[in-house]
Symmetry: C2
Subunit: 245 residues, 2 copies
């Protein structure tokens, strides 16, 4: 399993991914699921991957190999818009599934999905979720959160707290709480967490952090959050007994 999260905010984008990959519970490893395609000052494109690792690695590798080929529909650096970039990722996914899908299906699920976010000069920052069919949807002010993989455990905190105006720093904090909730509940999601804060119109990817479970900031955040939460819960009056309702 995997957990990847993208947040579409007025100030920019926050995107984060875990590092667990597994085939069964006795074959586990760590991989980086975030790939950044950056032409500083001109475009930043971040791709997060979930699903079959063979498929996702092939897609990202093909994306890298096509960079600067200047072939339309293949080269992320030649894409004129983020919509075109999302189409390229979806196209590469179809290409890989066409090549491997039938063979992999005998052994397991070849499918994969992606979050693609970033900004290309000439338009605003944008965020997409690519389905296994290669089609996609876009985040908006009314639907700021996109998640792939093990999405449910980490969603309630985001649903409660994220609004358009949430700052990148606050969103990064919420993302780390969301990942912590998921890791606690699902063995197949694990650190380190890769997290990018992309500031709109900056066209640089200079704020990419990696959080191991023992990262001092993340440990401090988890402690403060758990303790604060317990204080809030304790401060709420108990439910009245049935006879008193």
């Amino acid at each position: 399993m995997t957990y990847c999260l993208g947040m579409f905010l007025d100030d920019g984008l926050v995107m984060a991914s875990d590092s667990r990959t597994n085939a069964g519970v006795d074959q586990i490893a760590k991989v980086r699921k975030m790939a950044n395609f950056v032409n500083p000052g001109e475009r930043v494109i971040t791709v997060l991957s979930a699903g079959n690792l063979g498929t996702t690695q092939s897609v990202v590798t093909l994306l890298r190999q096509s960079l600067r080929s200047d072939v339309e529909g293949h080269d992320l650096f030649a894409a004129k818009t983020m919509f075109d970039a999302a189409r390229i990722v979806g196209g590469k996914l179809r290409e890989v599934l066409q090549h491997d899908g039938e063979h992999v299906r005998l052994h397991g699920d070849p499918n994969a999905s992606f979050l693609v976010g970033g900004q290309i000069t000439g338009e605003s920052h944008r965020l997409f979720q690519i389905y296994s069919a290669g089609n996609f949807v876009e985040a908006s002010a009314r639907a700021q959160l996109l998640q792939i993989g093990e999405t449910k455990y980490g969603k309630p905190i985001l649903d409660r707290a994220v609004v358009d105006e949430t700052t990148l720093d606050a969103a990064a904090k919420l993302a780390l709480i969301s990942f912590d909730a998921t890791i606690r509940s699902n063995l197949s999601v694990e650190g380190p967490i890769d997290l990018i804060r992309y500031k709109a119109d900056s066209f640089v990817a200079d704020n990419v952090c990696k959080y191991r479970r023992d990262d001092p900031y993340w440990v401090d955040l988890r402690t403060r959050y758990s303790e604060g939460l317990m204080q809030v819960i304790n401060s709420i009056p108990n439910p009245p007994d049935a006879g008193m309702m």
Copy 2:
């Protein structure tokens, strides 16, 4: 969908269920998914249902019809232990699936699952989860939480806060927060919530509450929880930028 929750605590049991039943998004209704089988002073058995409504209603009806028949393996009031009671529920489920399963499968999933908790004089309070196969597992001090239906959204808050020593009142509070998180994230879970606090060795079911979404206590709890949570989040320092790590 459905969300049912059982909490096995030193002080007793807290069990709760939502009321949404649906076949598609345009055919929805409310049903009570909690059934209490009580012989005051002697036994309290609470059954929570998830899954195919035809199946669960048949199971609960058959359980009611067999009450006081004194037929071993059928009459919940004749069960000597909660283990026997769980077996009876599993047996009725198999009976219904035997009777209807093949016919229902042409149209949809006939399966169902149950939480069965309570106490019979002569032993401690106990809590079980009955699978669709009619077999079951029991909660313990190391595994206090049993959930059926849409379980994931409401789990993180419980994982953080519930311990053996959690009081029944505190557990009821946490259950309501857990249901609120689930309702916010999944349309197919909805109030009213039925909630029982069973105090160990009381052998009465006198603390059963129903919470509509506009119940004053539940509204107050949701408001205090959301506001308190936001204060906690705001009080945590922001993550340092990449350059500062």
